[in-house]
Assembly symmetry: C2
Homo-oligomer: 212 residues x 2
DNA sequence: TAGATTGTTAATCGATTAACAATC
DNA sequence: TAGATTGTTAATCGATTAACAATC
C-alpha cells in the first residue's frame, strides 16, 4: 500500500478544483497564496484545505502560505498529470468526436489514437487527424499501440460488451459515458460520467425551488 | 420551506441511480423488490436505501418490499421528470450537438429548442430539426419561447458572459459544461458537468494503482 | 398465523470545523 | 523580533450502519 491510496475518495475528488484555481493563479502571475485566500476562491474552508493538502505532505510554510507554482506542480503529480496515456474511443458519434477534439484531454496527458465504430458511414473519416476505424480491428490496435485507456461513448446496450473487449485487450482504465454500471475485474479502473444523473439533479433543484 | 429541500444533497444524488435500476426492473417485468435486492443492484446498503426512501415518505410495505412501478414513478416525480422544460444550448460544437441529439435529454423532460453560436459557418445548420442560430438573437428567443434552461458548451473564457446573458434573459437553471465556476444569483440553479475533473480522477487512480 | 421486510431509533463511523502550538 | 499562517490535535457535525419493534 502506498500513502496516497489511503487518502479518502472525498479528498481526492477535491484535488482537481485546487489544481484548476492554482493554474489560474499562475496565469495571473500570483506566486503565493494562503489557505484563507484559497478558501475564498474554492468555497472550501481554510481548515479543510490545510487538512486536504496535508494528506500528501507539508506543502506550505508557516507565516507565508503556499507557493502557487510548487503546489500546482505537486497536485499535478499526485493526479498523475505528468504521466502520458494512450487512449481510444468506441462510439464515433458527436460525443466521441467531441472528446477526440477536446483540448483539455491532451493537457491531462491523454492522447486519443483512434476512434472505433460499427457504422460503415463513418469508418475512414478523420476527426482532426484521428481516424475512425472499424470495430473489427480494435483488439489488435490496442495491443499494437499500447493503449491503456478505453473510452465508451456508445448507447448503454453495447457498453458492457465494449468494456469486455477493452478488458480482453489489456486496457487498464475505462472512461464510461454510457448510463450503465460496468462489471469489471478489480484491477481495472472505471470512471463514469453520468450525464443523465447530472440532468436529473438539475431537474430536482429546479422543481424544488420553483414548483412548491 | 417544503419537505424535499431539507433532504441532504448526498441523498438527492443517489436518487437517479435508484430511478435507473427501477426503470430497468420495469423493462424486465419485475414488479416487486426488497431493499435487500436493491442493495445488490445498486451497491448501497439495504439500510441506507430504506433511510433514503423514507426521506420522502413510506413507499414500502412491511413484509413485502416496494412496488417497482410505484416507486419508480414516485422517484420520477421527486426528481421533477414529470415537468417539461424548454432549453437552449450555447456552443454548437461537437458537445453542443451531442446534447441536441441526446435522447435521454428529452426523456428527462427537457426539450432543446435551438442552438446558438457566433461562428457564421455553423449558423443556419440544423441538428435533427434543431436550428443553429446567431447569438445576436438569443435574448429575444429565450423570452419569446419561455426557455427556462440554458446549457453552456463553450470554452471556459466565454462561459461567464453567456451565464450573464442567460440570467438577464430570465432563465432559471444552467447546465454548465465549461470548466469554470459560474457566478450567479441565489435563485438560479447551476449544475456543472466537470469532464476535466472526471478525467483527472481517472488519471489519479491509474497512477495510484499501477505506478508505485 | 408465521414469516418477511419495512420504518425508525440508536450506535458507529467518517468527515468537517475549530483551536492553537509550532515555526517561518 | 512580531506577525502571520501552517500543521495537527481535539471537538463537532453529519452520514452510514445496525438493530429491532411495528406491521403487512
Amino acid at each position: 500500500m502506498n500513502r496516497e491510496s489511503q487518502v479518502s475518495v472525498t479528498v481526492i475528488r477535491r484535488l482537481p478544483k485546487y489544481h484548476r484555481y492554482l493554474t489560474e493563479l499562475i496565469e495571473k502571475g500570483i506566486s503565493r497564496i494562503s489557505s484563507q485566500e484559497l478558501s475564498v476562491l474554492t468555497g472550501f474552508t481554510a481548515s479543510q484545505i490545510r487538512q486536504d493538502l496535508n494528506n500528501f505532505g507539508g506543502f506550505g510554510q508557516q507565516g507565508y502560505g503556499y507557493n502557487v507554482e510548487d503546489l500546482q506542480k505537486e497536485l499535478g503529480k499526485i493526479l498523475g498529470l505528468d504521466t502520458r496515456y494512450n487512449a481510444v474511443v468506441v462510439g464515433a458519434g458527436n460525443l466521441g468526436q467531441a472528446i477526440a477534439n477536446y483540448k483539455g484531454f491532451e493537457d491531462a496527458g491523454f492522447k486519443v489514437l483512434s476512434l472505433f465504430d460499427r457504422n460503415p458511414r463513418v469508418i475512414g473519416l478523420k476527426i482532426r487527424d484521428i481516424e475512425i476505424r472499424d470495430m473489427e480491428h480494435i483488439e489488435e490496435f490496442i495491443k499494437e499501440h499500447n493503449v491503456e485507456i478505453g473510452i465508451i461513448t456508445t448507447p448503454k446496450d453495447s457498453a458492457q460488451q465494449i468494456a469486455d473487449i477493452y478488458i480482453r485487450s489489456g486496457i487498464k482504465g475505462i472512461w464510461n459515458f454510457a448510463p450503465t454500471d460496468l462489471q469489471v475485474p478489480d484491477d481495472i479502473v472505471v470512471e463514469n460520467v453520468r450525464l443523465n444523473e447530472s440532468l436529473f439533479i438539475l431537474s430536482y433543484f429546479l422543481k424544488t425551488k420553483f414548483d412548491k
